[in-house]
Amino acid sequence: MNAFEFMGLLCWIGAAVLVLWMVVDFFKVNITYDENYLLSSLEGHDEITEQEKKHRREREARA
């Protein structure tokens, strides 16, 4: 086995580990969290604007 074939073997092992990691995390998330929550994202949902509004309200409340 030359150096390049050894690198190829490492690539197979590395790819298997990474895919396995993703698959385990994938099922863990699917089991742990409520499906409605995972599917609750909205198109064009502007998180920053919401946070800014929230902070503004908090500042106004403190004032």
Binding site: E5, G8, V23, S41, E43
Partner: protein, 467 residues
């Protein structure tokens, strides 16, 4: 037309999850240029095979004009329709569901096939490197699979790190193009670059130049992918136009310098069939450091492209699922990493299966054709967008100048490129069109009944003019 202000907010749960809004203009640049820059390292040279060196340069600039129009049109619409899914979401809001479904498929196929082509190049590059070290017959498959796996993992873990990595490797690949230029003293013709001896007249005449249009697309294919990040950028109206248009300027420079260096080093007959032309140009130049830099440039550009295409294909698939154009299950967001994780994982085996075919030019052709169908849509979309919501009726982050000339130019250049594709890959063109027609029939008669028609229009826009 369905009321555009209708949303599902009232019936939805209070606690929501969304994609993470963390990207800036540099990430947008990295996404767009990262996807494309591999075209400066391989693929573009098939246009030299079709039309000769000068024919490739002419087609490079005409196609550059096509993509400049794409960047202008896309920047205006994406900065207004700030949503994952990019052109799919634009089509949904501006044209209609069937167009949106088709555009979504164009995007997924263009990016997934491009991803497979990138991974194939990584494999081919390793085979060439092994050959240079005296080890012939290396199997490229483990390198192809590892490339897709590690980049999918990166995408799974979060968009910020994904595109920060893309920024770094894209910048290195861009600088590598200039290393060849400076090493070959590109400003002094005759020292290392022999255009006088190597440049010939148009070998196949002007028809060859037209035929070269098909592969000249490779110089810029994917820059429109920037708008897939619309839902994740901090300031859509600033970051998207800035990232896309600076990206296009970067590519015009990179494409011209690439052509100039490689055609001065390698005869067009050989360059036109090479799998890794930059690396071959470095071999012809003979300097081992430059050869190593070109190896790194080719490797990094392929990785950057595959990385960006995984991101874009997954977002297009995710956006379609969220609107129930595809099973809604794919529309989930990872609660920790805030990425479309189900779409990312689902598309891994699809990309690997394309990659295992080993048919680089066929995969590239299907990717180009899907992209081209998307550009044709963009020109029509722009007319409808300006007619239904004229300037002043909705807030636009960017207004492109000289409308309607960019949209008309785009449409005409798309028609020329279809003809060019027909000349070289007529059967593939027909096969792809048949596939999209069959998919449209399936969507119309089967899938559309699952789409919640009111929920998909989320932009707080006034009713379009004429409705």
């Amino acid at each position: 037309m369905t009321d555009q202000n209708t949303t599902s907010t009232e019936s939805a749960p209070e606690k929501r999850i969304s994609l993470l809004t963390v990207l800036g203009p540099a990430h947008v640049w990295a996404l767009g240029v990262g996807i494309v820059l591999v075209g400066e390292y391989m693929g573009y040279n098939f246009s030299i095979g079709k039309g000769g060196a000068l024919g490739s340069l002419i087609s490079c600039w005409f196609i550059g004009l096509l993509y400049t129009c794409v960047a202008m049109v896309d920047s205006e619409v994406s900065a207004t329709v700030a949503s994952a899914g990019g052109q799919y979401s634009q089509a949904k809001h501006i044209v209609g569901p069937l167009m949106a479904f088709n555009v979504g498929l164009y995007l997924v196929f263009a990016y997934t096939m491009l991803e497979a082509a990138d991974a194939l190049v990584v494999g081919d590059l390793m085979v060439e490197a092994a050959h240079d070290f005296g080890f012939a017959g290396l199997d490229p498959k483990p390198f192809v699979v590892f490339t897709i796996a590690i980049l999918a993992w990166l995408n799974y873990r979060g968009v910020f790190m994904t595109l920060t990595v893309n920024f770094i490797i894209t910048a290195v690949a861009f600088v590598a193009i200039f290393v060849l230029f400076f090493a070959a003293q590109g400003w002094t013709p005759g020292v290392a670059l022999h255009h006088k001896e190597l440049l010939t007249k148009l070998p196949y005449g002007w028809l060859g130049v037209v035929a070269a249009f098909q592969f000249a697309i490779w110089y810029y294919l994917g820059i429109e992918g920037t708008c897939q990040a619309a839902e994740e950028v901090r300031s859509v109206s600033r970051a998207l136009p800035l990232g896309t248009i600076t990206g296009m300027m970067t590519l015009l420079i990179a494409a011209t310098v690439t052509w100039y260096c490689t055609t001065g080093l390698v005869p067009w007959e050989y360059l036109g069939v090479s799998i890794i032309p930059q690396y071959d140009a470095a071999r012809a130049f003979g300097n081992p450091i430059v050869k190593f830099v070109m190896f790194i440039g080719t490797l990094f550009s392929s990785l950057a492209s595959a990385n960006g295409t995984i991101s874009d294909a997954a977002r297009a698939w995710f956006a379609m699922a969220r609107d129930r154009y595809l099973p809604v299950w794919f529309g989930a967001v990872h609660p920790k990493y805030r990425t479309p994780y189900r779409s990312i994982v689902f598309l891994i085996p699809v990309a690997i299966s394309f990659g295992f075919t080993g048919l680089l030019d066929q995969v590239i052709t299907f990717s180009i054709l899907s992209g081209l169908l998307g550009y044709t849509f963009m020109s029509i979309n722009m007319f409808k967008f300006r007619r239904q919501w004229p300037l002043g009726t909705i807030r636009r982050g960017y207004v492109h100048p000289f409308h309607p000339f960019p949209a008309i130019t785009l449409f005409l250049l798309c028609c020329v490129t279809y003809f060019a594709t027909y000349l070289g890959y007529g059967m593939e063109l027909l096969a792809l069109m048949t596939f999209y027609i069959a998919a449209s029939v399936w969507f119309h008669f089967h899938r559309y009944k699952y789409v919640k028609r009111g929920d998909q229009f989320t932009m707080a826009w006034p009713r379009p003019q004429g409705y």
